[in-house]
Symmetry: D2
């Protein structure tokens, strides 16, 4: 296959670094530039120590960005929309890993991000990056906006059940988060003695990712209600959502299996994990670290008339960089799993 | 004050060890015997290394148990009810830390524990051990059954709101658990490489503690529905519950504050933790390790019409051994906080 | 006993916070002021969340410091010596927790701290704060300089063997450190995703605490050579040193036991931990968290002609705040263990 | 290239599982059988949850082992030597991951393992598996015995300096270990509440791996003295050794760089890590998890006349399974890095 030239804007962050790791081993990718304003001219291995001796790339200044086939944009929220017009000149195709182009409705964006969108006319040109829902559109897309990590795992866990009409519209997502989701800038709350061992509910209600989830699922269920509670725990990398839902009358375990199978049986990165024995009976984020898998499990209680869904991903994998590479594979006609074969580690 | 003689049956477990730690520093307690079938004649410090040089007690055989003023029973579930009759001969008063005497209704017991109760006639003689709800009865009690740890923190978090009629009857408890709750017997799932870093949902629905919570709260709310999902995380000690509830129409943040204050403002171990700044804005179990505190926080969302309650305890403190000492203080007329003054550590 | 009035300068740091926790429960202490430049007028519980509801103290400005019986100084290195003269006006007695007054020789100070001492004439007025070595002098002291945490555990572990002439002068200290030793200011290296799970050798050679250790042990062994390697690991609180030494010809295990017993058998905070069975056969810092203990173990190998010493403390306990309270007890004639009875937790 | 058929005896353990993970993605390997006595007929993903959906292999009974080109033996110590004769009938080539065939001298084996060797005549037929020392012999070998994990990293760290005559013969290895090194059988000391957060010196002196290290390094330095102290810390996977050595007179930092470069500059898995800035200035095991790298750093102190060497590996990677695959690549003429390209993760 033809190799494409690829650059990453904002490659010194955790998402950028993970993306770079994946792309360095991708057989059809030639990395052109990786930029960092702060670390210009520094070797990549100084910031991403796992890439020492793996690559001798150095960070370029964003000002020196050259034309390339595909540009990955890994900039902070609200910075991406500032530069997007300029970036579009540099590359035929763009995959944005930030939040700025995920929501199609500028009013919804403003409602949740408390600032007007700078480039609202571009919102409709981006395809939401979850391949399992938008594969056809991503294949033809020029611009893709990758989903937020909580949104990714929540949508993937809910989608088959919502689509098949098995659950009530009132949905609670109790998310267990990791420290890498906060990015790589130290704060007092990320200071190890303060952060270690916490069970810290930093966003009990009104989490921004609710908007993305509603946008993606409301076509299948009018008036869907999403409520996220986000609690960060002792974990560097990984994300698990416990979704508390109500099954509609008469829904059986078999119906749920059927819905998941009908949507995901041919999906290479989706696994249903529901065992009666063993340590890993339900999804477990630690064995997904470095992978592009999304594992889903569930339990239905008659006594409680309740359905508990459990979804797990690597927030930097399927939740960000893996999702981006999967989208790239689709956009350029490569086999969808190329460069995403790492199976994860055990023990870890 | 008069010193009482106290013994602990089953003192080699984690609950027994923590109880012993507290009692060794209690000014009105003289420890008579601590028993262990498995470790008879061994020094206590061999099993509880924090008590080396602190005490030279050795474990007695349960067969050699002498009479005492107060007996703490820290035996596994279903073992306690087997021996309770015999134990009652040995002591004027008994505090049971296990599950066998918490439920007053033998049918409910059988329904959840899948075995008939051996001593059903004794069920009504035990007072449920949460002082904040049953202080008067505990003061007069001969027999007290301490609450389960999830039940303790869930009941304490919910009680004021249920009593004051502020929330809907449909209640979801998402519990974040620690490894010490599994006791001190190794299994493959507690093996460090398998257990470390997990977000392991071991009981997604139909958790036994639902029965206790219903028993305690149903007097204030008929047909209350309790659904627990239990997920164990990277934490040795500590327990946090995230309770997802629906506020009744018109309920304001002020109403919730008022309910908590009216029930807990004079409670020495209850703290409402709800801040807008700092790392510890909501309850955090790690700073409660070793203490008898129960910290409670909440967030009310108008947008989501939802109330998130957050409760945290040390599962071996307020959740077990601390609760037992608090009950003892009430039963013998000591100041309620005696021996429970440890404030917890930071950083930790 | 008469209560003394005590203030803490620099009470918002980890050492200051731990000291405050201990003093709040000390029966003969009345806390007058706790100062913080940065957090003036803030409630103490905002910074030290374990002290919420325990105290309603607020931070004072250092400029408002009033006279008191005893002043604890918990300022950063080199700041302490700047203010010491002014502080001596405020209090009859002073205990300094920083590094500025530990070394008696100004040249040695300059050699290790790369700056001239501001108040060299005061160096001789401070007594080094390890009670086990300087009890008599501390009792009479006006000014005490608490030892550094690595120095404390290293000196206590080595002292009996050096004094009794059992080991060679060439001594290697391999220290395993925790994140709280870095203080409470966030840096990129303390950022949780970067700090979590590390085995990070941040000071392989030429560690400053070598100077203190030499100062304290050289009276017993001329030309003693101390070499520290400091590696920080996944631990918030605690410190363990592995000391690699050579036994002198003919030295037996019995000789070592004898040396330790002769020096420490009546010491309330020193424990020799050397077992052949159980999980806790050698010292273990996690069970010392919150305590003032120093646990010591050893192994002698004939095959290797080598003696391995193992010493563990809580760096914020015996390594800092506990040591300071122990010194205070001596200086004011209180029983030496007052306020330091907490035995530590297990499991933790 | 021709694909070879490969089987693993003892594939349910951690070493076997990691080996299987690597081999499943090796382009020139076809996995014939993976055996487990205990889990015969179970799907591999039940025991190694990271391999779910990656393979549908099931465990075979060892009794059903068929002939293959290469057999990996991952059996417990002393079991391997019992079956080796029978296994040699099954395969042309064998790579043993256990300890039984590492030492060439039967007396040394008996001295350290306290049991006579069952198959002493086979000892000389095995090549020690570290490619960096024995590449030529491994290429021609029928039988390879992979080194122990502490031995691997210690030998690799010391070898250039010993060979080039830069250090004294008296060498102390302070090893920081992880819980996966204890294998996958639960014990009370691996029980999470007991194991979590420890700094546990389980083998202060007389560690068996000393024999391997001496065997490998004594050809370059007569009378080399090796003393290991092994301390296990809060880490599931990874191994770091701090080696305390004395430089010979006149040895400079440049000499050390030169020795390492001359031996390792063309080695694909050896990296010298010695930086003056950044978080990862010295080797760090966490970023090596899943890789075959061995990172080495050092610090030379004139003041202390001391050389500290720091070596890090993944104990299940370069320390076991990675080393085995590297040896396989050499034995069958594949490019040495085939299947070992994973660069490790950051953050983790």
């Amino acid at each position: 296959m033809r190799k494409i030239s690829v650059s990453i804007i904002g490659a010194s962050g955790y998402a950028g670094g993970e993306l770079l790791r994946l792309l360095l081993f991708h057989p059809y990718v030639s990395i052109s530039q990786v930029t960092s304003r702060k670390f210009t001219r520094l070797e990549v291995g100084e910031i991403h120590p796992n890439l020492r001796k793996v690559t001798d790339l150095t960070f370029s200044s964003p000002a020196d960005l050259k034309k390339c086939d595909l540009l990955f944009v890994a900039l902070p929220n609200s910075v991406s929309m500032e530069y997007m017009k300029d970036l579009q000149i540099k590359a035929t195709k763009i995959i944005d890993l930030g939040a700025d182009f995920r929501l199609r409705d500028r009013k919804v964006f403003q409602d949740w991000y408390h600032t007007p969108h700078i480039a609202p006319e571009m919102l409709s040109t981006f395809i939401y990056g979850i391949a399992e829902l938008h594969r056809k559109d991503i294949k033809k897309a020029k611009y893709v906006a990758c989903a937020g990590c909580e949104a990714t795992v929540s949508i993937l866990t809910l989608y088959p059940l919502v689509k098949h009409g098995l659950i009530d519209k009132d949905i609670i997502i109790d998310a267990k988060m990791s420290s890498s989701q906060g990015g790589n800038s130290p704060t007092h709350s990320s200071h190890h003695p303060e952060r270690s061992g916490v069970v810290r509910t930093y966003k009990p209600t009104d989490h921004r990712h609710e908007a993305e989830i509603k946008q993606e699922l409301s076509p299948f269920m009018k008036d869907i209600q999403i409520a996220i509670t986000a609690t960060t725990i002792e974990m560097v990398r990984g994300l698990l959502v416990t979704i508390h839902a109500k099954p509609l009358a008469g829904v059986t375990e078999k119906d749920i299996w059927k819905a998941y199978r009908s949507e995901y049986q041919n999906e290479p990165f989706m696994r249903i994990v529901k065992k009666t024995t063993g340590n890993y009976r339900y999804p477990e984020p630690k064995i997904l670290v470095g992978t592009n898998y999304c594992d889903i499990g569930f339990a239905l209680s008659k006594r409680e008339n309740r359905l508990v869904l459990i979804g797990a991903i690597d927030n930097l994998g399927k939740g960000t960089a893996g999702q981006a590479v999967q989208a790239m594979n689709l956009m350029f006609g490569y086999p969808e799993t190329t460069g995403l074969e790492f199976p994860g580690l055990h023990p870890i």
